[in-house]
């Protein structure tokens, strides 16, 4: 039984349908990478799992999000709220703006354990400081009393991570947790997150556009393109034998040793906007292997020997 299971989740915002039949699952304690370019629907998937779509005017129109056998999209808001921060936590994209600027950072971590675990002020403080130490925040008890603007970006993201871990959740959704940080500390933050997830046996849904990060940190990968799942599979299989041309192109974007100058391949074109998704396979305008069939008929996500892919040409292993 998977901890989190999305089956054919379709999300609408007004007349638009930015997510189309998203399907994947996460096992307890598993680290899964959700990858794709900007605009492929990664953050929306996170919002759908967190049940925060109403904040941006969106809703799940069909399909189901199941968490430990509870159908989240049918859950009354009250019960959903009790899960949020308690069993499913969010680490947001930008630590610079995700903390309340006029409250002490410690207070903001305490809030979670006080609210969900019923701790008193002092107990919550001790718990938060302990968590901050585990996240290698120096002088944790001093930092506990600091305001966000007094901390660096990396420190702030550690605070956000501490906030996510505060009530011992079973699943953490991390939405591009390092995009807003300096390159020099990105690796550090990813490493700390992965280490904590492994140690506390928390499942981690790591949203990123960096295939390098996925290769280092994840067990399995979900590749999204233009609001659809392109491919899923274990990290080993995806990197060794990608079945979807888009996955292949993403892997081609990772810089490797010994690459000649100008040798790094990008992907031509951009992800189409949600208002003008192409017919058929949404990747066909950018796909070098596209055939006539790809322009008309949308490929279904088909199970492979390991994982699944949505490509007409994925049937025969390369």
């Amino acid at each position: 039984m998977a901890l989190l299971d999305l089956s054919d989740v379709t999300v609408s915002i007004g007349a638009l349908t930015p997510l189309d039949r998203i399907a994947f699952s996460i096992e307890a304690g598993e680290i899964i990478g959700v990858v794709g370019e900007s605009g492929s629907g990664k953050s929306l998937t996170a919002m759908a799992v967190m049940g925060l779509l109403p904040l941006i005017g969106g809703r799940i129109t069909s399909g189901a999000v199941r968490f430990a056998d509870v159908e989240l999209n049918r859950l009354p808001e009250r019960d959903y709220r009790a899960l949020r921060g308690r069993r499913i936590a969010l680490i947001s994209q930008n630590p610079m703006t995700s903390l309340d600027p006029i409250r002490r950072v410690g207070e903001q971590i305490d809030q979670v354990s006080m609210m969900h675990l019923g701790l008193g002020t002092e107990q919550a403080r001790l718990r938060s400081v302990d968590m901050m130490r585990q996240l290698r925040i120096p002088e944790a008890d001093v930092v506990h009393g600091n305001y966000p603007h007094q901390l660096s970006g990396g420190m702030k993201q550690r605070i956000v991570i501490a906030m996510a871990l505060a009530a011992d959740p079973e699943l953490i959704v991390a939405d591009e947790p390092t995009t807003a940080l300096d390159v020099t500390i990105q690796a550090q933050i990813i490493q700390i997150m992965v280490e904590m997830a492994r140690r506390k046996n928390v499942a981690l849904m790591l949203i990123t556009h960096d295939m390098g990060v996925v290769a280092q940190a994840c067990d399995r990968v979900v590749v999204l393109y233009a609001g659809r799942v392109a491919e899923t599979g274990s990290v080993e299989r995806i990197f060794a034998a990608p079945r979807h041309p888009y996955t292949k192109s993403l892997i081609g974007c990772i810089p490797v040793e010994g690459l000649p100058p100008g040798g790094l391949k990008g992907i031509d074109g951009v992800v189409p906007g949600v208002a003008n998704y192409p017919t058929g396979c949404r990747f066909h305008p950018r796909c070098s292997l596209a055939q006539d069939r790809c322009k008309i008929e949308a490929p279904l996500l088909r199970a492979l020997d390991e994982g699944a892919a949505a490509c007409h040409l994925a049937g025969d292993p390369p």
Binding site: M50, S92, Q93, N94, V112, Y147, H149, V160
Partner: protein, 308 residues
């Protein structure tokens, strides 16, 4: 924080001097003078000259200013030329009326304004929000003297709930406070609503939802707290306005007060009284902004940081 306070207080000295100079000059640039109001018809030119000399109005303006400033620093605002009383006595008689009216009106507009603004923001685009916004538009466009007259007609003349005018009882305060306060309510409510809607879109609010904080607690404990920062600015600017800007209302309701005193003495060109009243109002504005800055610094740690 203490250093910031001392610096702000020291900064008040040049501001105060500049304001006093401007007040002194403006009063004298207005055509006409108090002697014309005092002289009996048929007085001779000699009598006029003697009178001008008696009030020291024949000396050069810089000399007059220095004398006034010197006395003022000793707490002596001079003697009213027409009303023949010490200016400080006149102000002491009138200021309490203005202070009570002003502070009640300010308190009314603060409380009701923040409450309606927060309600409107929480039910954004609902019927309650639309109703509030329409009332706000009405409240901020109605001229207050006209609103005052309407209120008198309805509540004092027709219904007889409150006295028409005067300042003898507490019930006489209700209509003037409402009249002045409603404009303030509209302003405060609009700023509160706009600020809350803007802040509700910020990332940290999404994060609060993701932490499972109940929406009401997010609105009141986090969003409103941020929205109060611009509201404090508006309110601090309004302190001086309410004290002096209530002039027309004091007139409509025939209440004693700083505004009434100012208008009367301005008509008579009673220089010392006009100067005294204007100075009081200027001090109120200066203190208002100072208080606003202090309150903001107390509420916003980022601001405190830059003040060190």
């Amino acid at each position: 924080m203490a250093l910031f306070l001392i610096r702000r207080l020291l900064l008040l000295i040049p501001v105060f001097l500049a304001v006093s100079l401007v007040i002194f000059m403006i009063v004298r640039f207005v055509p006409g003078d108090p002697i014309d109001n005092l002289l009996q018809i048929g007085s001779t030119e000699e009598q006029k000259t003697a009178m001008i000399a008696a009030y020291g109005l024949d000396r050069a303006l810089p000399v007059q200013y220095t004398i006034w400033l010197g006395k003022m620093l000793q707490g002596d605002l001079g003697e009213a030329i027409i009303l023949r009383q010490p200016v400080s006595t006149l102000i002491a008689q009138n200021l309490p009326h203005s202070l009570i009216l002003g502070s009640l009106a300010l308190a009314f507009s603060t409380l009701v304004g923040i409450a309606t603004g927060a309600l409107a923001a929480s039910f954004k685009d609902g019927w309650l929000d639309r109703l509030v916004m329409t009332l706000i538009l009405l409240g901020s466009t109605l001229p207050s003297f006209w609103l005052g007259l309407l209120m008198i007609l309805l509540f004092a003349v027709q219904l007889g709930w409150f006295p028409v005018s005067g300042a003898r009882s507490w019930s006489a305060l209700v209509l003037p406070v409402l009249t002045i306060g409603i404009g303030g309510v509209a302003l405060v409510a609009r700023v509160t609503r706009a600020a809350m809607i803007e802040i509700a879109r910020k990332d940290f609010v999404t994060m609060l939802h993701a932490k499972g904080v109940p929406p009401l607690q997010i609105q009141l404990g986090h969003v409103l707290r941020h929205a109060l920062l611009p509201v404090v600015t508006i309110l601090s600017l309004r302190i001086g306005w309410v004290l002096g800007g209530a002039v027309t209302i004091e007139y409509v309701f025939a209440r004693p007060g700083l505004g009434s005193l100012l208008i009367t003495s301005l008509n008579q060109r009673d220089y010392p009284v006009v100067q005294g009243c204007l100075l009081m109002l200027a001090i109120a504005v200066i203190l208002g902004t100072l208080i606003g800055d202090i309150v903001q610094a107390a509420m916003d740690p980022r601001l405190r940081e830059t003040l060190r």
